[in-house]
């Protein structure tokens, strides 16, 4: 058994744990031994995550949370600490996207995506970071995207938010390294989640409405851009998450770890 990955005795907060990759990350951290506070805008969606964490024998606390409200975020971080103990690990996994032509993109939707994907991450990092400074350090894991690094048509708000998250990650890593706080990001490609499908469905639309010869099979068009020729399965995000949260990554900070089937390497 390699003990560097053991998170026994650690406390984590996973924001956006009601579904998708956040749910996998919360349960994955629990399987590695951490007690986990879970938060999501949709509190009902946390039930199955909570049950899965209880099933592996770890302590869990669930919180409804609108991450676009700074005070609410701070309240959840505080409540998580008071119930489970000092926070060691923060995972920012809440996010949203909608695709649409940039020149006509809806103003309200644009604001909502930036509020959720970027402002919320800042509020959570700041709140957790202040506490981690006092307790000698911690690990922050933000969710970027392959679109933190490359452009995707009709996805300006999402790409902007994820590019900003990448820089927020690097800037905090530099600033907080002296305090023992490591800040890294995971950049997933398309995954088989509700959000991944927003992207994939749009690609399907393109394929059906374009003269691309292979348009009959559009799954193939999206996955065809990934060297591994497939989308990710949600459990495949767990390894990167546990690694960055664990002693195995003690020298790693400011890093953007692509879990993308080779997409960004091409």
């Amino acid at each position: 058994m390699i003990t560097e990955f053991d998170l026994t005795g650690k406390t984590a907060l996973v924001i956006g744990a009601g579904g998708g990759l956040g749910r996998e990350q919360a349960v994955g951290l629990a399987r590695a031994g951490a007690d986990v506070a879970i938060a999501d805008l949709n509190q009902d969606a946390l039930r199955s995550t909570q049950a899965a964490i209880e099933a592996v024998g770890r302590r869990v606390q669930a919180f409804g949370l609108d991450i676009t409200a700074a005070a609410e975020v701070d309240g959840v971080v505080e409540a998580a600490e008071s119930r489970l103990g000092p926070l060691h690990i923060l995972v920012n996994s809440a996010g949203m996207t909608r695709r649409g032509a940039s020149e006509d993109y809806d103003a309200e939707l644009f604001e909502r995506i930036l509020d959720t994907n970027l402002n919320g991450v800042f509020y959570a990092c700041q709140s957790a970071g202040r506490r981690m400074m006092k307790t000698g350090g911690g690990r922050i894991i933000n969710m970027g995207s392959i679109f933190s690094s490359v452009g995707l048509a009709e996805s300006a708000a999402y790409s902007m938010s994820k590019g900003a998250v990448a820089q927020l990650t690097r800037a905090l890593a530099i600033e907080w390294a002296p305090f023992g706080i490591a800040v890294n990001a995971i950049l997933p490609s398309w995954f088989d989640t509700a959000m991944g499908n927003v992207v994939t469905d749009r690609e399907k639309f393109y394929a059906q409405n374009s003269d691309i010869p292979s348009s009959a099979d559009l799954a193939a068009r999206t996955t065809g851009r990934v060297p591994m020729r497939r989308v990710g399965k949600p459990p495949e995000i767990v390894g990167a998450t546990v690694f960055l949260a664990s002693a195995a990554a003690s020298m790693v900070t400011g890093h953007l770890l692509a879990v993308d089937g080779g997409f960004l390497a091409q």
Partner: protein
């Protein structure tokens, strides 16, 4: 303009430059020297007249518009006004900057939002409004300003760095999305006044060039990006940082 390479000539082109700080004024001067018609936009009237005076000293007549882009509607309003007065917009330069030099733990939610608003959201609104017009005319070039902090981490400039990371991705996304319809979007990334002021003395020794770059160093590139000389270039972030990020 001497016809060294005619593709760099901006005669007959209308350039809308948003932001009249050091960077905006330098880029306006460069585009003006390449014979573009210059329209300067700044929320602050005082900065606007100083910038116009600087350009006038070099024989460049610029139109000044005091205007604050607080949202999508204002940006579309601005472009409509310029199209009414000048017939079109060929070049957009986004050079507004709000530099917040502060420890991450001390930034208030209001400061964070204000910085993101000026450095990132208003850039999108300007791109959207000008871009829609350029797509209709089938041609146009947008130049955004990123920063060395758009790709590297530095302490005590979190809101600025996050904004610039967003600007780089905005640039790549629009660059990919619009190039097939004739509209190109690129960015210049170097040192700006705020960041240089905060980190300058500690970073110039680490720069292969031996000094930090200034807005003057971006002038040639801005003419290239605005002109047909760069017709096949889009979604690029060009780093003018004296080799800083290459090492």
């Amino acid at each position: 303009m001497s016809p060294v390479f005619p593709d760099f000539d901006l005669t007959g082109r209308v350039a809308l430059v948003i932001g009249c700080g050091e960077t905006g004024t330098s880029l306006a001067r460069a585009l003006g020297r390449a014979c573009a018609t210059i329209i300067l936009v700044d929320p602050c009237g005082k900065q606007l007249s100083a910038a116009k005076a600087r350009l006038a000293d070099e024989g460049i007549a610029a139109t000044g518009i005091p205007f604050d882009i607080s949202g999508r509607d204002q940006a579309f309003d601005l472009v409509r006004r310029v199209v009414q007065s000048h017939g079109k917009v060929d070049v957009l330069v986004n050079a507004m900057e709000n530099f917040l030099g502060k420890a991450a733990v001390a930034i208030t939610a209001e400061e964070w939002k204000r910085s993101l608003h000026v450095n990132l959201k208003s850039v999108f609104w300007a791109c959207q409004a000008a871009g829609k017009h350029m797509l209709e005319q089938g041609e146009g070039s947008i130049i955004n300003l990123s920063s060395v902090a758009g790709a590297l981490g530095f302490p005590d400039c979190l809101a600025f760095a996050a904004s610039k990371g967003g600007v780089e991705q905005l640039t790549r996304t629009l660059g990919v999305e619009w190039i097939c319809r004739g509209v190109r979007v690129n960015a210049i990334a170097g040192w700006s006044e705020g960041l240089s002021g905060q980190l300058g003395s500690s970073q110039s020794d680490k720069t292969p060039l031996g000094r930090l770059t200034t807005a003057r160093d971006f002038e040639g590139l801005s003419i290239y990006l605005a002109s047909p000389a760069s017709a096949a270039l889009s979604g690029e972030i060009i780093r003018i940082d004296g080799g800083y990020s290459a090492q």
